[in-house]
Symmetry: C2
Subunit: 314 residues, 2 copies
């Protein structure tokens, strides 16, 4: 097999960034294009905040606070404390350095520039060599219908700590949203598409919901490799397991596999889930077992290298 | 004489704040209303910045960096450094805590609230007991016509360090600007109006240019007390002296007196300028000699007390 050169990854935030950091280290990062969820975006204090774009960018730039998984390392929160004095919401952490990113992005949007343009301006300023594309330049906010009513995703996740019971999820305005420039091309032109280990419902789900993206993935199905974010029935990160269960999906590798089978050729599970291999294979996907729990940079590089070494599913 | 109770002050930024701090200390601050220049306001990085409103508010709140005369004490500049990484202008100093003020104000304006509303929200949050009113809720940017072309006032003052030669000054849009709510009433209802020692051309000038304000001051002329910002031919603060000379005014107490005589009953000059007493009196103003150089809080309180003890000019 000729090794794949051009890689396109679908990504949420913290979970995806572990694998992306591995890929960035083991391949030519200029051949990597990352399509990032923007359903988590929120407007706070008049500032456009794109958490997943920033987590991916900060991670690859090496400026991330790796203990937290978000924000700048050695960050201070002086502005946020003062915003609270002014009676403004302070449940969403905004560091002083991080605020510059939001101010810059908001200013560019205010000048009529696109979110793609802002994302590119930020990643080039931070020296990231891979392309980082928002899934769409149109706002597609994830709305969590819960036992406490409709919640913005960040309100659900951060303010309410994922405690409300999820009854439904939708992506407001997604039907008329267009993929950002380069997104469809990146899927069609890639030698390999990698679905990062992110929440299938609210990280990968919004990307799939943008008209045109799911169809392009289906057309490239044999070259789509998805890394399961659930290991041993638990999320690697965040509330994926709970959300899957609350919405009637099995909170397991098999449950995720059922969601991904229509557009995925190879499904990667952790050795902890090898008992589910046959059931997943029965969905029509090749199943590959690889250690997917990435605690160290060595783990990240190892999984990335293994993913690039796999043969396509047909 | 019954001592004046309700005081209305016209103010720029740093120079005015010295006297305001004195007034705030020696009178019931709830009887003090301050009308502040907003010609210096600037939109930077999409944020609405109102330097004079903030200097006055921070000073009276006791949070100001008194060495600099602006911004918060013990301030950090992490966001500004990152804004520069993003290629944004960083010649205007924006501290991390200070940014919260600009973000809050900009967010309120974005929600359709007025600048007055924002100013009041900020001063109450910081515990300032005096009313602080912008001269107008309408933007009236000061434009400096110079040998380098038309410059925004902050570009002239901060970016170009007041080095260009000033040929003319105008306040864009001032003809259709309305005084902010409460401004005209504060002049009419005050027992005494105090013109703080601020730049006559670009701090007091813009306030006077808002339609209706100058007329109301003229109507209260005998109760208007102006403190001269030029002592011994030099500005107490900033480029007043140079600007006066470049625009053909005498850079002296007498030069300022000529500008203020139409609406001022009593003109306060420093002992250093007592030789000009007769010339100023000939303009039809009562002249009072008081030490106007306020290096310490004791000086500020002393001048404030003296101003409140003066009899009206008729």
């Amino acid at each position: 097999m000729k090794p794949p050169r051009k890689i396109t990854a679908l990504a949420g935030g913290v979970g995806a960034s572990k694998l992306l950091l591995g890929l960035y280290a083991v391949m030519d990062p200029r051949d990597l294009t990352i399509i990032v969820n923007t359903g988590d975006d929120i407007l706070l204090h008049g500032l456009k905040i794109s958490p997943d774009l920033d987590i991916v960018t900060y991670t690859l730039a090496g400026v991330i606070d790796s203990a937290k998984g978000w924000g700048f390392r050695d960050e201070t929160f002086h502005a946020l404390k003062r915003l609270a004095v002014y009676g403004r919401a302070n449940w969403f952490n905004l560091g002083d350095r991080d605020l510059a990113t939001h101010i810059h992005r908001t200013a560019l949007l205010g000048e009529g520039k696109s979110l793609s343009h802002a994302a590119d301006s930020i990643r080039t300023a931070l020296g990231v060599k891979s392309l980082i594309l928002p899934m769409s330049d149109d706002p597609v906010p994830t709305v969590i219908e819960s036992n406490e009513g409709a919640l913005n995703f960040q309100e659900y996740l951060v303010k309410r700590r994922a405690e409300p019971v999820v009854r439904d999820i939708h992506f407001a305005g997604v039907d008329s949203a267009r993929p950002a420039p380069g997104v469809l091309e990146a899927i069609l032109d890639a030698d390999r598409v990698i679905v990062c280990p992110s929440n299938p419902l609210i990280s990968i789900g919004p990307i799939l919901a943008v008209p045109g993206i799911r169809e392009r993935l289906q057309a490239r199905r044999e070259n789509v490799f998805a890394v399961c974010p659930i290991v041993g029935g638990k999320s690697l990160k965040g509330p994926s397991d709970k959300m899957l269960a609350q919405l009637g999906h099995e909170p397991s590798a098999l449950g995720v596999a059922k969601l991904y089978a229509p557009f995925t050729g190879t499904f990667i599970i952790d050795p902890a889930d090898k008992a589910q291999t046959a059931a997943i294979a029965a969905l029509g996907m090749k199943v590959t077992i690889l250690p997917t729990v990435m605690k160290t940079l060595a783990h990240k590089r190892k999984l990335a290298r293994a993913l690039l070494a796999l043969s396509p599913s047909s």
